[in-house]
Symmetry: C2
Subunit: 418 residues, 2 copies
Amino acid sequence: MINTVSTSVSDHVSHQRLNDRITEMACLGATAQGGVNRQALSAEDAQAQILLTRWSTALGMMVSRDPIGNLFLRLEGADPSLSPVMTGSHMDTQPTGGRYDGIYGVMASLEAVQALQDAGFKPKRAIEVVAWVNEEGSRFAPSLMGSGVHAGARSLTEALALRDTAGVSVQEALQQIEPLLAHIPKRSLSSPAHCYVEAHIEQGPILEREGLSIGVVTGIQGKHTYRVTVIGDAAHAGTAPHRERKDALLAATAMVQSLSRTFFDEQDITRFTVGRFSVAPNAPSVVPNEVVFSIDLRHPNAEKLEQLSNQVSILCQDLAAPCSVHIERLYTSAPIEFSEPMQKIIAAAALQLNLPQRPILSAAGHDAGLMHRVCPTGMLFIPSIGGVTHNEAEFSRPEDLTSGARVLANVLAHLAGH
Amino acid sequence: MINTVSTSVSDHVSHQRLNDRITEMACLGATAQGGVNRQALSAEDAQAQILLTRWSTALGMMVSRDPIGNLFLRLEGADPSLSPVMTGSHMDTQPTGGRYDGIYGVMASLEAVQALQDAGFKPKRAIEVVAWVNEEGSRFAPSLMGSGVHAGARSLTEALALRDTAGVSVQEALQQIEPLLAHIPKRSLSSPAHCYVEAHIEQGPILEREGLSIGVVTGIQGKHTYRVTVIGDAAHAGTAPHRERKDALLAATAMVQSLSRTFFDEQDITRFTVGRFSVAPNAPSVVPNEVVFSIDLRHPNAEKLEQLSNQVSILCQDLAAPCSVHIERLYTSAPIEFSEPMQKIIAAAALQLNLPQRPILSAAGHDAGLMHRVCPTGMLFIPSIGGVTHNEAEFSRPEDLTSGARVLANVLAHLAGH
């Protein structure tokens, strides 16, 4: 399925260059513990975009930004009238994030394009490397913002109005970094793509445990997220009798415990996480009057996910008294299955490079899940040591990073044609 | 017991002036909901000190500040060699605090001194009105800082090193407001006092329910506070299997629920509150790696309080796995009983003014609890409507505010002599 011209491209992937660039990117938002904190549309994110622009401009790529802040690097094809092959990932991280989640896919795509050029490969279709904005949803909830707007899953207006916990909107954040990025030409939203392929670290332990280099991603488990607001009444910790209190923290902690028990799953397939939990006024001698907490609920089976999700509201309502509770579903993504032809192309590329591989389901959400709505989409994973991720200790072996880029280079060559 | 000269002093308490001043003070840190947020050593606190200084200087009082930031307003006595009668309270509030907690005692003391002057009463002993710094412990935990340092219960060095959640130390905060208060002379720590009396809102429902004007405070229930730190490990909400997670939030919420069940008390005497609960990294799709929460535990019986307190560590340790937990006891105050002679003087003053009264135990901690260690100390309460406090809806009736100041004026006249 992969022709011979395409397979030679991977020989031009530079192990040194790829790993050096990943290391250089990790300095932008570097944390004391060796991780990265690069929030979407922050100064560090802008610096990363500037660096990426510099590297790709040197390769003769055309750089542009769309209205939501996605960055596109286009290698023109022999026939500019054809829709481009798209590839990429995101550059933002969790607050205590690692050096690979997201940025690896962007760096592997750039390396793959450079390998194509070094191989003298002239693609028929343009190849566009994209850095999606605010994939993590850490600064602006919910996640997958840039790819969501691009794919038409969310309106631009709605996304621009999202605010971080300091009250800064996406629009304001874009304006704040605009002076740094004013040299990059603007483009309109949502140009059509021929197909999309994304390389990413696995963020789970399977590939490492099984001694494999490449995961051909079959799909993404479904995810529902919620914001739960518990309203009580502030009172004095010394004087207020318990029977007269409306303690928002007691109600909220009871909800978290009950949800955790209900969603317990012997087979450990269901994923239930309360990651954000904010208390007001958060003072030691005041009974809390408000708690806002997040729920992140995932399952690979659509029906089961709906079943679990339906219990969130019931359980929270049951445990609210004497407080009141307000439950909002923020985000719903049903489980998805990636294009079979794309899976086959990625598997064939790994096979021809003699890299051990397996099909794998993604437990995490990815921008590819949004692109799946608008064009044939595929993903490849490389191993994450210990499955550690969203953590400063996140690590992937340099040789695996390179293997992923080699597979990606051949896949892009095949998809773009020559 | 109260002589006739003393009883006439209360006639000079001005209802209008007292209530106007309380209203004016409530503007400094006023919240949108009609409450007050005036954190210790903030700009608003400094403005309150400046206003208080202006009012008392106009009465010929000498103003001074000690090294921890307590503010003293001295009305000189006929015999300056005698130790002063002290009276006052605090001016800081909880973040969503009310218009009366603390500031009422300072305003009532100032009004009482002015009544003495208007009555032509020349005290034998000096009267010192004091505004204690950081009583609430809301900005700098633990609470009762200024009176604690004054009474020798805590070292000055230790108190100056306390930091707020933004990392600002007490010493730095004092330096920040120093330019605003530089005109106020400095004094040394901890001059001896003849006695101390403090007026305060009840912060409980008893006086209102029983239709009484004055509570003669018999003592303060004991209080232990803790800081509990739960350490887990950050992980990805989608990929990390539950059996491999170390979820600090799940462990901490289990602790809060278990403590709440264990400390449940049919008679509703035990007070157990988790007011602060802070999660890191506090991102929706990251398993929390750290939770820090506060425990505020109170009981009027010393033995029972120790018994309850001993369970904190056991319960938290039991529920920590697979996380680890670190438990620090921050503050311990045994239940106390105020001086009987002081109680009698306050009760007699209320009786002579025909104000309905009762003995009452304080459920809240007060600066008077610290002064109790160094001199005969008493407190009087006025009603809090609905017992609502540490809440923007806190309210006390103007006529009750005035009644408290009238009792205080007579008590001060009696204690200072003439």
